[in-house]
Subunit: 139 residues, 4 copies
């Protein structure tokens, strides 16, 4: 799988198309079908007790899988998530950014399937895993 | 399945435990293992084009399933989502609230399983469906 | 959603295309986007203790969702399951057939999404629920 | 994560507890929270055209995740699958065994979560992926 967008391209795309959330995320690394994205944790991502909320983890998984797909197919703002399964496995560490590693398992003409593993920054045990399917817009 | 919390009880619980998001949601109806929750759509829930974002739909599904479970087991702030599968089926209508109907399919000692169907208010075809599992805290 | 295949049409299709499993299933009723399919439980579906195995429940969910989709789009042997999420909620009753109620939630050009609820025949509480996505073959 | 059952232990367990399916599977390797299981493909696993059926792939994912969990917690026949999400990504090669690599992502007191990747033997691109949750029986 060949990458056609760099980390900088993907960040620029996010800022143009999803400016409301672009500040939340940093694309840290892009490889062949792989990407690393960080959620810069802020008060609005937290639940009482200081752990990151489920919807914020979902948002990180969703962005990471989306950008991993776009890195391979180019900027298509209209790609849409059709399915996600997500397992919340451990409480995220309080006050620590989350890091998602996404791996594209399938890139078809119509659909992509991407696995995502999420860790609290610097911790070994994953806090969540997700798999997302995107429908790739047809010409 | 017998309900032990009313719509008012659930709203009061949300305000105390999840004040950051309590304003987003209205518990409209509570029945035996069933609940209806509305997402009061605001700018921060939207994607460019005016449709509700995936993470906002996830958040609605998560809250609806959580409250449907709490309505049966009583206020337990520590119940945690362990798994969610969600299918995004149609674009939500622009500028319209979303309404979730949640149904508890299983209430065990350790786990509950809840189905959620989400519609744009007033529309027949669902925009998303989800199933969520909660781990119920043990004494 | 308009039905284009009857219960008899669907059974005849199963016999021609999937003769290895056709004897396991009975299509009991077909409505608008809805279908009821029975798994005729046999020794090979059982686990020690006499309950139906997980793979047999998966097979029933898969067939029911597939036939619910075909009832709407006509006989397309090449439709393929792309995703399934399934929750096993209760032990099936021993020595009792399983009955699946499938409901098509979305019928798009490329994908269908179908919910399935499975009961032990005659019991109120569901033993499993599943959601399946099918890719509909393009001409 | 420390392994308490070897490949031989797991095969012996399968033969005793699940003799109906034990011949279908070979435990090829067991590591720390990891396992490799082969489905010895036979006529009864096939669909017309010679590819392995969805239920057979589900059965392989289910066995692999189950044995990966048991390898860590010891022989507990009563552990039950509570949830599975599975993505079917490519057609398996005809007449070729399937190989599953399972990785335990979480081993809690009540639940384990395991990722499974399935390949046609000798092929690089995975045919399916799955995540399964098991409820571990309490004393």
């Amino acid at each position: 799988m060949q990458t056609v967008m760099s980390a900088e391209d993907l960040m620029a795309f996010l800022v143009v198309e999803f400016d409301q959330v672009a500040n939340d995320f940093v694309v840290e690394e892009v490889g062949e079908g792989k990407i690393r994205v960080r959620l810069v944790v802020d008060d609005r991502h937290l639940r009482p007790g200081g752990t990151v909320s489920g919807p914020s983890m979902f948002a990180l998984a969703d962005v990471a899988a989306y950008l991993a797909t776009l890195a391979l197919v180019g900027p298509k703002a209209l790609a849409v998530t059709t399915n996600c399964s997500i397992d919340f496995m451990r409480k995220p560490a309080a006050g620590v950014d989350l890091v998602a590693h996404a791996t594209v398992l399938k890139l078809g003409k119509l659909l992509s399937v991407t696995d995502v593993l999420i860790h609290s920054h610097g911790m070994d045990a994953p806090v969540a895993r997700a798999t997302l399917t995107y429908a790739i817009p047809q010409k």
